[in-house]
């Protein structure tokens, strides 16, 4: 119902695309009919009405998913057509970007797709396949050049090299700090679990770090890292400086520690007492018990921590650009500086897609690692 209203509003009331004479002047909103060649606009509206009808009627989840997929495909195609239609020939300054109507439709159908996928309850592998299919579809449209007329891609076209460089940095920052936090946090969590007196102290310290705003943390790190760069031989050579990637990495790492350590502790504490007791009683050494019983049983909770960390790091890594750490944040802050929203989007959209994909993949991993409670019985 809500989704159908969103579709109606997005298709009929809100503007579908914005036309601007150049990238920084205020734009001119165009409705669906005005933004598309006469025939195409009617076709899109017709499609949206059919979709809304399917949503309103009590239809099976699979049909709803198909509807969402077709509708998403349709608005993706038509926004590309819009760009070609609205841009005057030979004009390289004009910018056509998706307007609120497009985003509302995108949101509505994404919601519909998510809802019907939840109802279908696909297995983890299938969910990852769906994700790959969606990303593949988007990639195909990108490669086909259909969207080349859109403002975001015009921003991209001028910065293709830098874009991939920053993308690499972004992923390296997020994954690298995740990796480091797991390498440090997992043993620390195990230690906290085994050595009771440590637990409160370590967790409180990490909690405290978590409450420091990210920009402040970057600032705090400038002094010690700067000092290290100057006084520790070789530190500067491997890129440790008061600003740049090093403090960004350290900050992300520190933020990541709490979820990893806390979830390790909680996961290990949740291992059934009897299982632990029996493991000891039948002659497992502490190490065998840790790797054979405790860690496998705590794994879903630990993975949940890693999922939180990864999604959080992908988002936070954006801020790294502020201190010269690179990443998609570079475009966001450049865009804000130039009041060029398209440039902001060039940084923001990949970040969101990356975080979203990471969340889905890790959710699937968590489910595959959850011991048998859902598996086995239902199949």
């Amino acid at each position: 119902m809500v989704i159908a209203l969103l579709v109606a509003y997005g298709a009929l009331v809100a503007p579908f695309a914005t036309f601007r004479a150049n990238r920084i002047v205020p734009g001119e909103a165009k409705s669906v009919l005005a933004a598309l060649p006469a025939g195409a606009g009617v076709v899109l509206l017709g499609l949206m009405i059919v979709a809304a009808a399917i949503i309103l009627l009590k239809t099976p989840a699979l049909l709803r998913l198909a509807t969402a997929a077709v509708a998403l495909g349709a608005i993706a195609l038509f926004i590309g057509l819009t760009a070609a239609y609205l841009t005057p020939p030979e004009n390289t300054y004009a910018r056509v970007s998706p307007a609120s109507g497009f985003w509302i439709l995108l949101f509505a159908y994404a919601l519909l797709a998510a809802d019907s996928i939840t109802r279908l309850r696909p297995r983890p592998g299938v969910r990852v396949l769906l994700l790959l299919a969606t990303l593949g579809g988007a990639a195909a449209i990108l490669v086909s050049g259909l969207w080349d007329g859109l403002s975001i891609l015009k921003e991209y076209a001028g910065r293709a090299d830098v874009f991939w460089l920053e993308a690499g940095r972004h992923v390296a920052l997020a994954l690298g700090s995740l990796f480091a936090s797991v390498v440090v946090g997992l043993p620390l969590g195990i230690l906290c679990h085994r050595v009771e007196p440590l637990r409160a102290g370590v967790l409180n310290t990490l909690n405290l770090i978590q409450t420091i705003p990210s920009i402040a943390l970057f600032g705090i790190l400038i002094a010690p890292l700067g000092w290290i760069a100057v006084h520790v031989p070789g530190a500067g050579a491997i890129g440790i400086r008061g600003i740049g990637a090093a403090p960004a990495f350290v900050a992300l790492f520190l933020y990541s520690l709490l979820p990893v350590v806390a979830n390790t502790v909680v996961g290990l504490a949740g291992v059934p007492r009897e299982a632990n007791e029996a493991a000891r009683g039948i002659g497992m050494t502490d190490r065998q018990r840790l790797f054979g019983i405790e860690l496998p049983l705590a794994m879903p909770v630990i993975l949940t921590g890693i999922r939180i960390v990864l999604v959080q790091s992908i988002g936070l890594a954006t801020i790294a650009a502020l201190i010269g750490g690179g990443g998609f944040g570079v475009f966001v802050f450049q865009g804000i500086g130039q009041t060029a929203m398209d440039l902001v989007l060039l940084g923001a959209v990949p970040t969101v897609v990356l975080a979203f994909a990471a969340a889905i993949v890790l959710d699937a991993l968590i489910e595959m690692n959850t011991p048998s409670q859902n598996r086995g019985r239902t199949t």
């Binding site: 299982a275 029996a278 493991a279 000891r280 009683g281 039948i282 011991p371 048998s372 409670q373 086995g376």
Partner: protein, 312 residues
């Protein structure tokens, strides 16, 4: 043989188990009873060194149990606990194979052992081997727990309230099965419980613990006829005494020559159950049948009454 020699465990200066000395004969079932906090579980756990004693020694077949690392000792001693303690992420077969895997048995031997134990515990390997513990009933989980404890063919099996989580009907069956398996495998069983009925049903000898001390160690009959302390008497229950005596022996041991009317009772039935049957059906005597069905005599109300009376 398990020799417990002056064993003491103190926590913060308080003795939880205080200078206990007792000898457990091989191939018997010894039940340690006591109220909660009596130290009975601590005593059991010092045998496989889950708890290290503060003083004293425990010898298994003459060998001090501290002569090897604790985990190696525990692999040689079966251990089953209340609530089974199965590993939820491993299948029934993997659970049972735990200790053989730790001992590096070859795969064929492990598979054979798992199949043998599943069959012994009346669990069809084809159905149960690949199941996860949560897919089993409480009784099945308990059987798998005991099967896991017996997988490496230990001479000694320690059980800590193994039937505590079972409902009464399944518990009676599990107790009967345990006795059968003990007769078959000749394992020395030390079992902790607070259930006196269970103790009298299972035990060759009963050890009564009270506030960390071993107050009496003897056969069930000795406990009933000659309780060492007030506490033992209370534990047994004054009004229960004649019935406790009858519950120790079987109908086969009370057979008198002659015949009687009615449906025969099995020779392995406890005398207590026979008495109950006699009273309920209003008869004076019932025929007794051996395991193969042949009649071997009768049990009379009068005979049972004599047996239930205080020894002179």
């Amino acid at each position: 043989m398990i020799e417990i020699d002056g064993i003491t465990k103190r926590y913060d200066g308080t003795a939880v188990v205080d200078n206990v000395t007792m000898t457990i004969e091989p191939r018997t079932v010894t039940v340690i009873v006591g109220t909660s906090g009596s130290g009975k579980t601590t005593l059991l756990r010092m045998i496989n060194r889950l708890v290290e004693p503060s003083a004293g020694a425990i010898r298994l077949d003459g060998e001090d149990n501290r002569s090897m690392p604790g985990f190696e000792l525990r692999r040689r001693i079966g251990y089953a606990i209340q609530g089974h303690g199965l590993f939820p992420h491993r299948t029934v077969a993997q659970n049972i194979a735990t200790v053989p895997v730790l001992l590096d048995w070859d795969k064929a031997r492990i598979d054979a052992k798992v199949a043998e134990l599943l069959a012994l515990f009346q669990l069809d390997p084809a159905i149960f081997a690949a199941r996860f513990p949560h897919e089993l009933s409480g009784g099945q989980q308990q059987r798998v727990g005991v099967a896991r404890a017996l997988a490496a063919e230990p001479k000694v099996l320690l059980m800590d309230e193994p039937f505590g989580a079972l409902d009464p009907i399944i518990r009676a069956k599990a107790q009967a099965d345990l006795l059968d398996i003990q007769k078959l495998l000749k394992t020395t069983i030390v079992l902790v419980t607070h259930d006196m009925d269970e103790a009298f049903h299972l035990a060759d000898k009963i050890a009564v613990m009270d506030k960390g001390e071993l107050v009496q160690y003897g056969t069930p009959a000795e406990l009933v006829t000659n309780p060492a302390t007030e506490f033992v008497q209370t534990l047994i229950g004054a009004s229960e005494r004649p019935f406790r005596l009858l519950s120790i022996e079987t109908a086969g041991q009370a057979v008198e020559p002659g015949t009687a009317d009615g449906k025969p009772v099995g020779a392995a039935t406890s005398q207590r159950d026979v008495l109950s049957e006699l009273l309920w059906t209003g008869r004076d005597a019932l025929p007794v049948a051996a395991a193969d069905g042949t009649l071997i005599g009768k049990v009379t109300l009068e005979g049972l009454a004599r047996r239930a009376a205080r020894p002179q």
